[in-house]
C-alpha cells in the first residue's frame, strides 16, 4: 500500500510526461502481482469500489476528534480527503501490525457490505500511515485525479514490456484487473494473452500533417480526398452481440452515447467521426458536440437536442472478415454498401472530394463548405489499414488557423524544465466603449514560441511586472504600453465560465509583435463575430 501511496504522491506533482512514465515503469518493475495490477486498474479507472460519501467521511473523523479543530484544519487544507488523511489519529505502532498490501485494502473494501463500509474503512485508516490513508480515501471517494490518463498508463506498460502501445490497446478491453497474464507477457514469462473477448478495440490509423513540399512528389491520381471533420474520432465495434464505442485511444465511451449504441444493428467495425446533428441536413458545430462530451450520464433532453451520429470513413471488419489488409479502395466500396443499409440518422458516409490537382485541393481546403470542416484528409487508394502513424499513406491538410492580436496580461512560472521561466501566458483583447476600453482575458497559451522567444518573453515579464500573486505576475498592459502577441487558434466556443464569453480551442502564440502598439490589438467583437 505504501508503494502505491508513494506513487500517487509523486505522480500528482510530476508535470512531465517522461517523468510520469519513469515513475510508472519503475513501479511496475518493483511491485509484484496482484498489487501492481490493482494500482494500474485504479489509475485507468477500471477498479470497482463502492463509493463513500464525503458526509460519511466527515462523520467518521469527527467521531475521533474535536469538530472545531477539524473545522480549522479543513478550512486550512481545503481538500476533504487530504484533511482526513492528515488528522486521522495515529495508531500506536505495535509489533503485530504489518503494512497492508494494496490487494488487502481493495479486498476489504470490495467485500464490505453497505452497513459495514464505514467500520471497514475506519479500520483500514487505523492501520495505515498518512500517505496510505490519503490513497485509501482517494480509492473510496472515486477519481484519483493524479494527472495520468489511461493512455499514459498503457504507454508505461508498453515501455515496461518494450512492446508497441498499440498491442496493449488492442488487448486491453479483454483483460481484467489485476492483469496477471498481461504482466507475465510483458515480463517475457508467458505468451501474449489471446484476444478472446468480443468487441475489442483495434488500434487506429493516424495521418501526418502535410509539410512544405510534401505533395510535390506525390501523384494526385494515387490519392483520394475527404473532408476533415472537426468532431471526435471514434471506432464502432459490434461483434457477437457486443457493441462498443471507443475513443481514438481505446477508451470505452459507449456510456455517454446510448442513443448511438442503440442504433448499432450490424456486425462490423467502423472508423469515423463522432458528430451531433441530423444528417444530412444538419451537422452541429464543435460547441454543440461539447454538450455531449465528458458527461457521466446524458439526459433524454440532451440526447434529443444533440443527437449523436457517426460520419463513417473506414471499415476494419465486416462480419467475420478482417478487412484491414485490403486496400482503401476496396474497403471503401464495402463501407459504402454497409452504410447504405444502416440507420441514416445515426450513420452516414463521409463523402470523397473530387480534385484534379493539388492547387485545386488547396482551394477547397482553405474555403471549406461547412464550418465544422477543418481541412482535408488525403489517403492513398492502395493503403491498407495500419496501426499507428505510418509516414506516407495518409495526410491531414488543415485549413489555416484563425489568428488574433492580443495583449499579454499575466504570466505564470512553468514547471519542470521551465520552472525558472515565466512561460504560461494569459492574454486579452480590448473591450468596452472607445473612451473607456479595458482588456478582457480571452485565453492562455504556453507554447508556440521558440526557446529564444521564451527567453525574451521571460525578460519582458520580469522587466514589466506590476503585481505578483504567488507564481503569477501581472504585467503592464494598457493603451500606451503592452506586448502584443499574435495568437493562433483552431476555433472558438461560447463560454459562460469566462468573462469574455468565449473560449479558444488550442491557442498558441504564433508571433511576438514587438512592433505593434498595444492600442492596435484586436477588440472582443472580432472574436464574438466568429461565433456562429
Amino acid at each position: 500500500m505504501n508503494r502505491f501511496a508513494e506513487l500517487l504522491d509523486r505522480l500528482v506533482l510530476t508535470p512531465s510526461r517522461n517523468g510520469k512514465l519513469t515513475l510508472l515503469v519503475d513501479y511496475f518493475r518493483a511491485v509484484e502481482d496482484p498489487d501492481r495490477g490493482l494500482a494500474l486498474a485504479a489509475i485507468t479507472g477500471d477498479l470497482t469500489i463502492a463509493a463513500v460519501k464525503p458526509a460519511m467521511l466527515r462523520a467518521l473523523v469527527t467521531e475521533r476528534m474535536d469538530p472545531v479543530l477539524f473545522g480549522y484544519s479543513y478550512d486550512y487544507v481545503g481538500d476533504l480527503a487530504e484533511t482526513v488523511s492528515l488528522v486521522w489519529p495515529e495508531a500506536e505502532p505495535s509489533d503485530s501490525s504489518h503494512d497492508p498490501t494494496l490487494a488487502e485494502v481493495v479486498q476489504a473494501l470490495q467485500s464490505a457490505s453497505r452497513s459495514d463500509g464505514p467500520r471497514v474503512l475506519a479500520a483500514l485508516l487505523d492501520a495505515a500511515d498518512v500517505s496510505a490513508r490519503f490513497a485509501i480515501i482517494k480509492l473510496v471517494t472515486g477519481g484519483l485525479r493524479i494527472g495520468v490518463t489511461a493512455r499514459l498508463a498503457k504507454q508505461a506498460l508498453a515501455d515496461f514490456g518494450k512492446v508497441d502501445v498499440a498491442e496493449i490497446e488492442e488487448l486491453w478491453h479483454g483483460l481484467e484487473p489485476p492483469y496477471r497474464p498481461l504482466f507475465a507477457w510483458l515480463e517475457g514469462k508467458a505468451p501474449k494473452p489471446e484476444k478472446l473477448a468480443a468487441a475489442l478495440f483495434r488500434p487506429v490509423m493516424l495521418s501526418n500533417p502535410v509539410e512544405d513540399r510534401d505533395l510535390e512528389k506525390l501523384d494526385p491520381a494515387d490519392y483520394a480526398a475527404e473532408w476533415k471533420w472537426d468532431g471526435i474520432r471514434v471506432q464502432v465495434v459490434s461483434e457477437r452481440g457486443v457493441r462498443r464505442l471507443y475513443s481514438r485511444t481505446g477508451d470505452d465511451v459507449s456510456g455517454a452515447f446510448p442513443d448511438l449504441v442503440r442504433a448499432v444493428d450490424f456486425e462490423a467495425v467502423l472508423d469515423g467521426e463522432l458528430l451531433v446533428g441530423r444528417p444530412p441536413e444538419w451537422t452541429g458545430t464543435f460547441s454543440d458536440l461539447q454538450q455531449r462530451l465528458n458527461r457521466k450520464s446524458v439526459s433524454p433532453k440532451i440526447q434529443s437536442e444533440f443527437p449523436a451520429f457517426v460520419r463513417c470513413y473506414d471499415l476494419l471488419q465486416l462480419g467475420e472478415e478482417d478487412t484491414r489488409e485490403l486496400p482503401l479502395a476496396q474497403r471503401r466500396t464495402k463501407l459504402e454498401t454497409l452504410v447504405a443499409s444502416l440507420d441514416p440518422t445515426r450513420f452516414d458516409l463521409s463523402p470523397q472530394v473530387a480534385f484534379s490537382d493539388w492547387p485545386a485541393l488547396d482551394a477547397l481546403r482553405t474555403h471549406p463548405p461547412h464550418p465544422i470542416i477543418e481541412g482535408v484528409m488525403i489517403k492513398r487508394h492502395d493503403s491498407p489499414y495500419l496501426a499507428g502513424r505510418p509516414k506516407g499513406p495518409w495526410f491531414k491538410w488543415k485549413r489555416d488557423p484563425f489568428t488574433v492580436d492580443a495583449v499579454l496580461m499575466y504570466a505564470q512560472r512553468g514547471h519542470g524544465k521551465r520552472s525558472s521561466y515565466y512561460s504560461d501566458f494569459t492574454f486579452g483583447v480590448w473591450s468596452g466603449p472607445e473612451d473607456a476600453t479595458e482588456l478582457v482575458p480571452v485565453g492562455k497559451a504556453y507554447f508556440g514560441f521558440t526557446d529564444e522567444e521564451l527567453r525574451q518573453l521571460d525578460k519582458y515579464v520580469r522587466d514589466n511586472t506590476i503585481e505578483r500573486f504567488g507564481p503569477v505576475r501581472s504585467v503592464r498592459a494598457d493603451r500606451q504600453q503592452g506586448l502584443v502577441l499574435e495568437i493562433a487558434f483552431e476555433g472558438l466556443n461560447r463560454s459562460t465560465r469566462h468573462r469574455s464569453g468565449v473560449a479558444m480551442r488550442f491557442p498558441r502564440i504564433s508571433r511576438l509583435r514587438w512592433d505593434k502598439p498595444a492600442a492596435e490589438a484586436d477588440r472582443i467583437e472580432t472574436l464574438t463575430a466568429m461565433l456562429d
Binding site: 508513494e6 508535470p15 519513469t22 479543530l69 477539524f70 486550512y76 487544507v77 481538500d79 519542470g416 507564481p471
Partner: protein, 342 residues
C-alpha cells in the same frame, strides 16, 4: 500587612509593539525594532535584528548575527551558555536549548516567584546540527504555533531524505535542486544526506556558503560542499547532482544552469499538497525546524504550565486545544514574525 503573592505573569512579560517586554528587567525578547536591551532566542532574521543597544544571546547566536549583519550589529554583546543564569535588573534569566537551529535557546524569565519560559521557535525531533530541546517547568509557557494545526505531523526526516536519494537514483540524468532556508534547514538537510550514506559532493548556492562554513567550524560535519555557481555553461556536470539553495533562488534565473531539474523543497509546509503544487515543487520533503502539532501539545503538557501564551502561527487551534485540556491560553498577536519561514 501585605500578603505575599507571586507576581502576576502579565506584570513580568507583556506584548508591546516592539516585541515581548519585561517591565521589571527592562528588556525585550526578540524585539522586531531596535531597543536598548534585547535577549535573542536564535539567529533567524525575524527574531534577531540588527541595531540593538545591548544583546544577550548564546555565543553561537551572536556569531550568526555577526556573520549576517557584520561585527557592529549591536552596541554591546554578552554571550550566555545553556543552563547559565544571569540577572538583568533583578530578573533572573536562564537560556535552555530549543532544538530549532544551531545556538537556538528558550529563555526562562523568573522573578517574584513566577517563571515564564519564552520558547522562541523550537522542535522536538532529533537534529544532529543543534542541541536538543530541554523541557523547563514553568508557570507560563510561551509557544509558537507555526504548525499549530492537527494536520501538521512531521514524518521521520530520515525517510524524507530517503525519498530524495531514491529520486536521485531514479532520475540520474536530472539534477535535484533542494530549496532550504539558509540558516539551519540547509545544514540539517546536508547532514541528513550524509547520515544516509551519500558521500558525493553537494553543490550549494552562494547564499549558503558562510553559514555552512560556520556550522562546519562548530563541529557539524557536512562533508564536501562545492559552489554551484561555477562551471557556467557546463550543464552536464550537474546531471545526477544534488544542489542546495535558498527557496527563492530556484525561481530565479540562477536555476537555469542545471539540467532538467527536479525541484524539491524541504519545509514543514510541504505536508499540504496544494502548497507544493503552487510552488511547482515536484518532490516535497517534509522537514521542519518547528514543532508539529503533537510536539506542541506534548511540550505544553511537559512544561506543567497552567497558562499558555501563543505568539505566532495558527494560534486559534492551539488555544482551542488548551481549552479542551483545561489549560488557560491566549494569543499574544505579536507582529513581525514570519509565519512562512520554515
Amino acid at each position: 500587612m501585605p500578603i505575599f503573592r507571586a507576581m502576576r505573569p502579565r506584570d513580568l512579560l507583556c506584548p508591546k509593539p516592539a516585541g515581548l517586554y519585561c517591565p521589571p528587567g527592562d528588556f525585550y525578547i526578540d524585539p522586531v525594532r531596535p531597543v536598548a536591551r534585547a535577549l535573542i532566542t536564535h539567529g533567524h532574521s525575524d527574531h534577531a535584528r540588527a541595531g540593538h543597544g545591548h544583546v544577550l544571546a548564546t555565543g553561537q547566536t551572536l556569531d550568526i548575527m555577526a556573520l549576517r549583519y557584520g561585527d557592529d550589529f549591536a552596541g554591546d554583546t554578552q554571550p550566555i551558555a545553556y543552563g547559565e543564569t544571569v540577572t538583568v535588573n533583578g530578573v533572573s534569566v536562564t537560556f535552555h536549548p530549543a532544538g530549532h537551529v544551531l545556538g537556538s535557546a528558550q529563555i526562562a524569565v523568573e522573578h517574584g516567584g513566577t517563571r515564564i519560559v519564552a520558547s522562541g521557535d523550537y522542535k522536538r525531533m532529533p537534529d544532529a546540527t543543534c542541541a536538543p530541546f530541554e523541557p523547563v517547568r514553568c508557570d507560563v509557557f510561551i509557544t509558537e504555533a507555526t504548525f499549530g494545526l492537527p494536520v501538521f505531523r512531521h514524518p521521520d526526516d530520515r525517510a524524507e531524505i530517503g525519498r530524495l536519494l531514491k529520486s536521485v537514483a531514479q532520475f540520474p540524468e536530472r539534477s535535484h535542486m533542494v530549496g532550504a532556508y539558509a540558516l539551519g534547514k540547509a545544514q540539517r538537510v546536508m547532514r541528513l544526506i550524509r547520515d544516509a550514506g551519500y558521500d558525493r559532493p553537494l553543490y550549494i548556492h552562494g547564499a549558503l556558503e558562510t553559514l555552512s562554513a560556520y556550522y562546519q567550524e562548530q563541529g557539524v560535519d557536512l562533508g564536501e560542499l562545492r559552489p554551484a555557481t561555477l562551471g557556467k555553461g557546463a550543464k552536464a556536470e550537474f546531471a545526477g547532482a544534488i544542489v542546495i539553495g535558498t527557496p527563492s533562488a530556484f525561481a530565479d534565473r540562477w536555476a537555469r544552469r542545471f539540467p532538467d531539474p527536479v525541484s524539491c523543497f524541504a519545509s514543514g509546509w510541504m505536508r499540504i499538497r496544494q502548497r507544493a503544487r503552487q510552488r511547482g515543487v515536484e518532490l516535497p520533503l517534509i522537514i521542519s525546524d518547528h514543532s508539529d502539532w503533537d510536539e506542541l501539545t506534548d511540550t505544553i503538557r511537559e512544561t506543567g504550565a497552567s497558562e499558555v501564551w501563543v505568539t505566532h502561527g495558527r494560534e486559534e487551534a492551539l488555544v482551542r486545544w488548551c481549552e479542551l485540556a483545561g489549560i488557560r491560553a491566549k494569543a499574544l498577536h505579536l507582529v513581525g514574525y514570519e509565519d512562512e519561514g520554515d
